[in-house]
Symmetry: C3
Subunit: 260 residues, 3 copies
């Protein structure tokens, strides 16, 4: 059985671009197993893609091949990239998209795919997902090692979310992403804030102060703000039954201050 | 071959949450067969999810495992639930989401999954879809019976769409949901309105009266309202080539009156 | 192994309609292999569906069965249709949706499915995708030849994108579609404009003139318009890091003039 290929892109669902990636993979590897993580990353938002990829990766099979394409530099000087961490492989552009996910257990190995015999016969200037990354992912899933289709690189582009900052009065973090429910996910882990046992914290975010964390969303009254330790392993700001980002004026980069 | 797992959630397509569900299933059951019904249920709209699940279920294989997650009460007191009707199983929150689909052939059997050894090792307070429901669905698809991973419950939450009301002058129903085309699907079956043979009806909806039903959408002039007996088995109000909800002011709950 | 079934519809992701198609196929053919091209074609926009289907098809396995449903005339006089080109089959409504994709190697063979024993037992007036096209696609993927479930037709509806027009001063084309990034894809191939070697062209589109083509998007300054030869094989107008359609006022049908 070939390795699972998991796809994450900013291709959206209006076009068939994501379907074409899968079509190329199925052409190369008819028995391929594929899984859509999401194709709804905001166009060209590498950071949003990196965060979602890192949050998802630990829950997939340990030998998954991740095909990730958020690629504003396509066709230019940015290199194609393979990263390997343990048995996981990541294929996509060398723009920081995959670093956070691939570096959770330390710096990954890195290669740049440079053997055109593994690509589609014609490579366009605008769609390397289709012409280069998808066939490379299919080759990896079929068991071809990175060494056979790529050359080592020493300096892949690195991006990780900013860490919180400790001050005299508390810890300052920020909103890393807003999810489809309007929940604002921060970069603040409970352990960053003195937990346990001093885990009761106050958030000042967008001018609002919220006492927390609560054990779950519905522990707050309907329509009220609530802070929980969410599925990203960090504090997130929600509104029970509502949309926190819209109601509290939260966006990516909004500072979040925790005071004990 | 394992049983098909069909997924329905309100996770949207901007995040990788739906992909993570599938990743957990693939981790537990590499040969899993999965099918996305939709991840576009409006956030936290249990009723919208229930209606779409019930409309879809009869068209899937009879031994399908349905994994349904619209779960505003996650992490709180609402129980996790398994329902079984015939060979179909439904896994998700005990909030009425699955009842309508599972009760079409009479009251289903019900259990609450309470054996943590079948779950992920850590269960978050915000994402039981990932941590609890997905691994339970994988176990069911692999052939584990509900009895092995859950305890019986006698009082699952029940929700079914409201029935029409008969009055001296006709039948009053309502719009149950508006689909992506803007078609307004009602709770009025032809048989509720005296069909056959008295199947010519008039709808007063949002102040508009529409003679019907027509045999198909395009039987009305382009841009005109039309009532058909739709794919839900009930009357639906459409505009040929247009968006009925927007053009006629229809929304969930809009009364629809049928007079012969 | 059955043939791959690739789906393209305007069903959107808010409803479970696309999931139901796949459920019917899985009911008929449990070992089916399915691939979503897109379900995000704008409602009832046959031309947008035709263009995306034609762009995707060459990248899928050569014996793929394409199930395409953009079907404003459902239930009326438009026929159901099967087209065959080489080993590829296309199943959907006879409204021009599939012609462009199926005719790239010359006129395809055409049939109309007319053997109800291959359909669902009840065929609704509004959802032939579910009741007729999906089971026919499953039969084709399982190896049933078109001749066994359909009768030949001589006059399928034909639609191909308009060709460019040559004038004394240059070539006039138009925007065929705007993709999810806001890139405006035209009907102008490099060869239509005298390439090579006279491949430097100027676009006048929406009142803007853009010198091109550039080798890739990021060859233009950030925020500036750029013309590239895109993944459709034609010139497309983009904005590096931006949304060309919004910023330049481009839409389907906008004239694009190339002067050497």
């Amino acid at each position: 059985m070939p390795r699972l290929i998991a796809l994450l892109t900013d291709f959206g669902t209006a076009d068939a671009y994501a379907g074409v990636l899968k079509g190329v993979i199925a052409s190369r590897l008819p028995e391929a197993r594929m899984l859509d993580l999401t194709h709804g990353i905001p166009p060209q938002d590498v950071q949003a893609g990196a965060l979602r990829l890192a949050a998802a990766a630990p829950f997939l099979p340990p030998d998954t091949v991740f095909l990730a394409v958020v690629d504003p530099g396509v066709g230019g000087e940015r290199r194609p990239l393979i990263l390997r961490s343990g048995d996981r492989c990541f294929v996509g552009p060398d723009n920081g998209l995959m670093w956070h996910a691939a570096s959770s257990d330390g710096p990954p190995e890195a290669w740049t795919p440079d053997r055109p015999e593994f690509w589609l016969p014609t490579v366009s200037a605008t769609f390397h997902g289709r012409d280069l990354f998808a066939p490379v992912a299919a080759a990896l899933a079929a068991g071809t090692p990175p060494e056979a289709l790529a050359s080592p690189v020493a300096d892949p582009v690195r991006w990780s979310p900013p860490p919180p900052v400790w001050t005299a009065t508390g810890v300052t973090g920020e909103v890393l992403l807003v999810d489809g429910y309007g929940n604002a996910i921060t970069n603040l882990r409970p352990v960053d804030c003195g937990d346990p046992p001093d885990y009761r914290v106050t958030f000042a975010a967008g001018g609002h102060a919220v006492r927390g964390p609560a054990p779950y969303y519905a522990a707050a009254p309907k329509g009220s703000p609530v802070v929980v330790c969410g599925s990203y392993g960090t504090f997130e700001i929600a509104v029970n039954g509502g949309n926190a980002a819209a109601q509290l004026g939260l966006a990516v980069g909004t500072p979040v201050v925790v005071q004990r």
